[in-house]
């Protein structure tokens, strides 16, 4: 699936920038550590926006296209930030047969975003994840650390309302 590129403005803190600088400095000029640096960067920012990839490219002296090529090849790299409330819908086998796709579709419709995207206000992000091991509660979705099990599409509006304060 093609990854959607976030249009949400990039926010950076001095602390985050310093962390990334340190990782780049530690790994440069060994370009074989590019993936490692990208993983660390995603750990720092939650995703890999243009500014972060550009910084990695400049720091490690590799073309930006090489960084972006890697970022779009591997599923683990995100081009959209995580929201204040990160929603995950389990699409593991048990949840899927119990209708998790309908829940994902309903969330997508209500939030106006697709999977692996973030709302423009930065409040919600949506992820379709693999089995989280709570098959007895299928279908399952999580909002940050809150777990909601045995839900239906009709429950989605109520759950979202709890986080719209």
């Amino acid at each position: 699936m093609l990854k959607k590129i976030s249009t949400i403005p990039f926010k950076d803190t001095a602390e985050q920038a310093a962390k990334l600088d340190a990782v780049i400095a530690e790994c440069t000029p060994d370009v074989s550590k590019l993936m490692h640096v990208m993983q660390e960067a995603q750990g720092i920012y939650g995703y890999l926006p243009f500014e972060v990839q550009q910084k990695i490219a400049d720091g490690m002296k590799v073309p930006l296209e090489k960084v972006y090529g890697v970022a779009t090849f591997y599923a683990q790299f995100a081009l959209s930030p995580k929201g204040q409330y990160a929603i995950s819908v389990c699409l593991g086998t048990a949840c899927y047969v119990k209708g998790a796709q309908e829940i994902l579709d309903e969330l997508s419709a209500q939030l106006g975003i697709g999977a692996e995207e973030c709302t423009a206000d930065g409040r919600f992000s949506l992820t379709a994840c693999r089995c989280i091991g709570a098959c007895g509660l299928a279908p399952v979705m999580t909002v940050n650390d809150d777990v909601y099990g045995k839900i239906t599409a009709a429950d989605v509006a109520g759950i979202l309302a709890k986080y719209k304060d």
Binding site: I5, F50, Q53, P63, L64, E65, K66, Y68, T72
Partner: protein, 583 residues
């Protein structure tokens, strides 16, 4: 001594050095293994699986382009039933996602995929029916179009871009979504692409091609109110014959002028004139910089791909660039000023067309500060390929044309101008004039062999009656980087540097006829084409720019001196720092 291995290819015994790739070993016994993704020393990735061959004892077919021979007694079959079947299946699978609009494709008849389909008897172009992504065409760059619907993902364009040190395209996403594009899917026109067109001449199919201006030029020619003037660059005469199946390196100067006249251009001029003019302006600028403590080293500005590269990648070093316009733009400016005035033609009625070996010229003619006479110096740039297509469309039998000369008064060119088309040529032309100006003596032999040849970076030192001149030459922007890093850190102790955007110079420009990988991998295309220019130079009565009578006349009648106020207005330009990515 390297270890030799005795092997057999298709039962033919031969002896090859340890580690030889199968594809090279096969060539030694006269067998050309077909390829799609392989470009020698540029793209050796074994990705397309078209070059597969059978190695006796191997678990599966192997890719001949990357498989090294390491065992004595290796037996290889390059054309067995199993091999042919595999290659056919590869083609059928490629066709399953290829937009098969061959009739309207610019590469029809010159497409490597099309040729292989014919050779391998592919009879069903839709044997496999599967998911087929649809891509929007990218028209954002000034010079070219990218059509990913025709892309076969061989990555030759990516290798060509990397080979230039640009790398603004690559493979994005994965699986069926894999596509060649720029970072963050930016349109090519918003990147630091330098418009060199090396991706175009390396593409095996019709996925990348120049923006075609032939219809606009045909329309201008048909318009009785327009005075349509054409000029042809030095390097075009060394390659145009390839469009008509002539041997690589055939000098077709005379037939080229004859063809342009038969196409209906009102005047047929030669960019050689402006190349000589460029030397007069550039040499004067250089001597002025040397005498008056100007910024050195001074760097040539003829190659618009190089200029765009400098603007994106070395924006702090722009004052090293000569302020001279390229010969094409100079010729255009003189056409719409001197020529127009002399012949009583309103410059607004002139359509100025340039035949160029270059795609970056399509970008250059639209730059700011390239309208010396108040009108764009150049209205349309056509590549060598486009001219070839126009000649075909007009039914002109190129091979049977007589040799003709170009028109006066902007037609005369010296041997120094002709060699502008090969790396080191501008330097040699400048040296011929500088040597005579500085020493006041006539050169016995105008040839400077140290600056010739296809090496990426060259250096030479000359002592001209006590004046020491140290020069450097680079072709291909990856090689330019070597010199520019020195310029940037202040260690470039050269007086003058020549840089051409394309490897080998204009003879290998992105607007030149496309030669398939089978030729590129086995023939020294650049050297053969350059040879035609050096022979042309050697056979000219005049070989130094300052001996050009037409140029002398233009100075006497119109411009005054080189670098005069009028010359500056018409023949010089300015540069701008450009961002790497424009989001």
């Amino acid at each position: 001594m390297e270890k030799m291995l005795n092997i057999k290819i298709n039962n033919i015994p031969c002896s090859v050095p340890y580690g030889t790739k199968i594809i090279d070993a096969a060539r030694m016994v006269g067998i050309e293994i077909p390829t799609l993704c392989y470009l020698k020393e540029m793209n050796e990735i074994g990705a397309c699986r078209f070059c597969v061959v059978e190695v006796v004892g191997a678990r599966s077919l192997v890719a001949a382009c990357v498989f090294p021979i390491e065992r004595d007694g290796t037996e290889i079959f390059t054309n067995s039933e199993k091999v042919r079947k595999s290659r056919r299946t590869t083609l059928e699978l490629i066709l399953s996602t290829h937009e098969r609009k061959c009739l309207t494709c610019v590469r029809s008849g010159n497409c490597e995929l099309q040729r292989l389909c014919k050779e391998y008897n592919v009879v069903e172009d839709d044997k496999y029916d599967g998911s087929k992504p649809v891509y929007e065409l990218d028209y954002s760059a000034a010079h070219m179009v990218r059509d990913n619907n025709k892309c076969i993902l061989c990555r030759r364009c990516v290798a060509a871009c990397d080979n230039q040190g640009i790398s603004v395209i690559g493979a994005n996403a994965r699986g069926i979504d894999t596509h060649i594009a720029s970072p963050f899917e930016l349109p090519l026109g918003s990147t630091s692409c330098i418009s060199c067109g090396q991706c175009i001449v390396n593409c095996p199919v019709g996925a990348i091609y120049e923006k075609d201006d032939t219809e606009k030029v045909f329309s201008a020619i048909s318009d009785p109110t327009k005075h349509v003037v054409v000029q042809a660059a030095p390097a075009v005469r060394a390659t145009l014959g390839e469009c008509f199946d002539m041997p690589i390196g055939t000098d077709v100067t005379g037939k080229m002028f004859a063809a342009l006249r038969r196409l209906g251009f009102d005047k047929v001029f030669d960019t050689n004139f402006a190349a000589d003019l460029t030397i007069m302006e550039e040499a004067t600028e250089l001597l002025d910089r040397v005498k008056n403590g100007g910024v050195l080293p001074m760097i040539t500005s003829c190659s618009p791909g190089w200029i765009k590269y400098c603007e994106h990648y070395y924006p702090t070093e722009l004052d090293h660039l000569s302020s001279c316009k390229s010969p094409m733009q100079m010729q255009g400016a003189i056409i719409k000023s001197y020529y127009a005035e002399k012949n009583g033609i309103d410059p607004k009625d002139i359509v100025s067309v340039a035949i160029m070996p270059c795609t970056a010229k399509k970008f250059e003619c639209g730059r700011a500060d390239e309208a010396g006479a108040g009108y764009p110096d150049i209205d349309y740039v056509l590549t060598t390929r486009e001219l070839g297509r126009m000649i075909d469309a007009a039914g002109i039998k190129f091979a049977y044309l007589p040799d003709e000369d170009c028109d006066a008064p902007l037609g005369q060119g010296t041997g120094a101008a002709v060699i502008f088309g090969a790396t080191g040529g501008v330097m040699e032309a400048a040296l011929r004039t500088a040597a005579e100006v500085i020493t006041g003596k006539s050169l016995d032999n105008p040839e400077f062999h140290d600056v010739r040849g296809m090496e990426g970076v060259k250096e030479a030192k000359y002592d001209l009656d006590g004046t020491e001149i140290k020069v450097a030459i680079a072709s291909g922007t990856k090689n330019a980087k070597v010199l520019m890093d020195k310029v940037k850190d202040g260690t470039a102790d050269y007086t003058f540097i020549e840089i051409m955007g394309c490897p080998g110079g204009c003879i290998n420009g992105g607007g030149q006829p496309v030669q398939p990988a089978s030729v590129r991998n086995t023939v020294d295309l650049k050297a053969l084409r350059a040879k035609a220019l050096y022979e042309n130079d050697a056979n000219r009565p005049q070989r130094k720019s300052h001996e050009n009578e037409d140029v002398k006349t233009v100075y006497a009648e119109y411009l005054g001196e080189p670098n005069s106020h009028k010359a500056h207005e018409l023949l010089h330009t300015s540069y701008v720092a450009r961002p790497m990515f424009d989001r």
